[in-house]
Point group: C2
Chain length 360, copies 2
């Protein structure tokens, strides 16, 4: 076992425009005056620049008539990000703030168009660290192919925040013919999972707890709309998509079983977990099924399409290790049950409270 | 002078569905499991219920093809709300979270369609107070005619937040033919202001500072899209709209003068301020031009349309005390200058930092 080293370095960050040489955010940066403008022009605009944002209006105006010409609909979503620490192996709050909201849109089958970004910054937060967060967001937005078109910054007094909290809202277009979530879930439908579980949660926890493993556990944060598009191409009848973030796969499956009033059965042997994640979970007494993922999805698909969708998933970079995790059953409605390796069964309950606070 | 009494009472609030009798928010309410669901079903859904929200998907899917059929465009905006105290004379953080974002959309000439809502709640926050905030938001949304269609809740540890922070993002439709901000601002254009300034900021400050006046200063928080629609009806050529929130009228005028590279001249005698607001500003050493408003707008209109627009504004409940505040001039580009009552002039600078922290 080597010691896991993780010391993010912000010394490389240079502010594209001088911020009156303030090394830390002060309350005045949230006042709407000259200091606010300097923060926006020194940090946010250079990172996020695009014609809509650069206008700095109170709102951004988009022409989406073309996107909707074929009868498409809009998807809208929001999430706040309060993860701690702000930087962790495999990503940062900036990556989550983009990918998390992009993925919420993708779960409707939508193609993400743009994001809004709201920052609540604690007085005293290092400007270099804010710059690094913003750069990570900008990079994630480029990778995901979305623009950040409007934003807002507030500064709160020291002790009333925690570095930076980010809210993003996302707007996407659901292509004509896509109707994820519209058809009922039926007994016999197959539950697919796009890859290894628990990576994000255990990447965070191993930093927080100072755990050391031979290979570093990295967050799986990734934008999933490309994977979803590939799946919809081979099976427009996908019944439902969910990204198992907070509360993990167990929570998402219980939500599905609950509102569809069906039973769900999963196979223990099929649950894909990296060895070091399983090890970390064992040390901390956690169940990987309850641990957050930030780059995985669950899909409920008709049985006859399952192989086809699985093949399409495995051909995509974010679905290489996709598996058939289980199936929808008529018995035990609203319950999720796991078939164990030795042939027994156990109920996988909805967790009550918070297993891992501030995970996303 | 009477003592200003302001003691908001939450004892009337009863949670529509029992929240396991937790009187305070705990970290588990942010975990995505059963407690999160109870918070959503006990507090948020009863207040905000509508078919899109009730589905509780990761995103809401809207059909706006009809709204855009005539060639309209979308406006999107976001703001985080960190005002302190959460309840103040004339409103609450819930009112601001709806009206502030609705107004940002309205400043594009957009008709607001829907809002997203993200809550960052501090562990230990009283559930009854959260309920009262949410009820205020729901009421403001009904008054403004917008739906809250999707949301998110995070809980952070005690000492890392401050009761509740709210982010809203708004989506609106800009009607065909409306192009606020598209035409250049020209010397001779008139600056209109929709009413008395400084009410919101001084309502907050008088509670914080325990100031007492004969009549209570109340926040002017209000949704302005109806007023904007009435103005656009008589003058589709409105050059620009701004709501002078953080940093007040002085900041908005400086922003306009800056990016339009024009001079702006305002008349001291025309600046409308309630006597008790002027008094409170004097006691605290504040300039009403720098104090936040939450239900006022500035409009730059062609000179020939000014009287017509002013008449339309005065016929609307949120514009009864509208005035012509000044004009756009060729001289002193990028500067805002006030003609004083005695015939002198003084420059109104952009404020540098934070005059009134946590005002919105």
């Amino acid at each position: 076992m080597n010691t896991q080293s993780f010391n993010p370095d912000f010394s490389h960050f240079t502010c594209p425009a001088p911020l009156r040489d303030y090394p830390h955010v002060i309350l005045g940066h949230g006042g709407g005056g000259t200091l606010s403008h300097e923060l926006i022009e020194g940090i946010f605009l250079p990172a996020f620049s695009n014609p809509l944002l650069d206008r700095l209006g109170d709102s951004a105006v988009l022409d989406v008539a073309g996107e909707l010409a074929g009868g498409g609909r809009l998807a809208i979503s929001t999430d706040s990000y309060v993860v701690r620490p702000l930087f962790f192996p495999g990503g940062s709050i900036g990556d989550l703030a983009v990918n998390g909201t992009v993925n919420d849109l993708a779960m409707s089958g939508a193609k993400p168009l743009c994001l809004t970004a709201g920052f609540i910054i604690e007085e005293g937060f290092p400007v270099a660290e804010l710059g690094a967060v913003v750069d990570a967001m900008a990079k994630a937005a480029r990778v995901a192919g979305v623009r950040i078109v409007t934003g807002d910054t507030k500064v709160v007094e020291r002790g009333h925040g925690d570095g930076v909290y980010i809210n993003t809202a996302g707007l996407g277009v659901v292509p004509p013919g896509v109707a994820v979530g519209a058809a009922p879930i039926r007994a016999g439908d197959v539950v697919l999972l796009s890859g290894m579980i628990g990576d994000h949660g255990m990447a965070i926890m191993s930093v927080r707890e100072g755990l050391a493993f031979e290979s570093r556990i990295e967050s799986d944060t990734a934008p999933l709309h490309g994977l979803v598009a590939a799946m919809l191409e081979v099976c427009p009848e996908i019944r439902l998509l969910r990204d198992p973030t907070r509360g993990g796969v167990a929570t998402s499956l219980n939500e599905i079983a609950g509102f569809a009033a069906c039973g769900i059965e999963i196979d223990e042997a099929a649950v894909p977990v990296h060895a070091q994640v399983a090890g970390a979970c064992e040390i901390l007494g956690l169940d990987p099924l309850l641990v957050a993922n930030e780059g995985k999805l669950l899909a409920i698909v008709p049985a006859e399409a399952a192989e086809r969708v699985l093949t399409a998933m495995r051909a995509h970079e974010y679905g290489r290790q996709a598996v058939a995790l289980g199936r929808v059953v008529e018995k035990h409605p609203k319950l999720v049950v796991m078939r164990t390796a030795v042939g027994g069964t156990r109920v996988i309950p909805m967790p009550i409270g918070e297993q891992l606070p501030r995970i996303c």
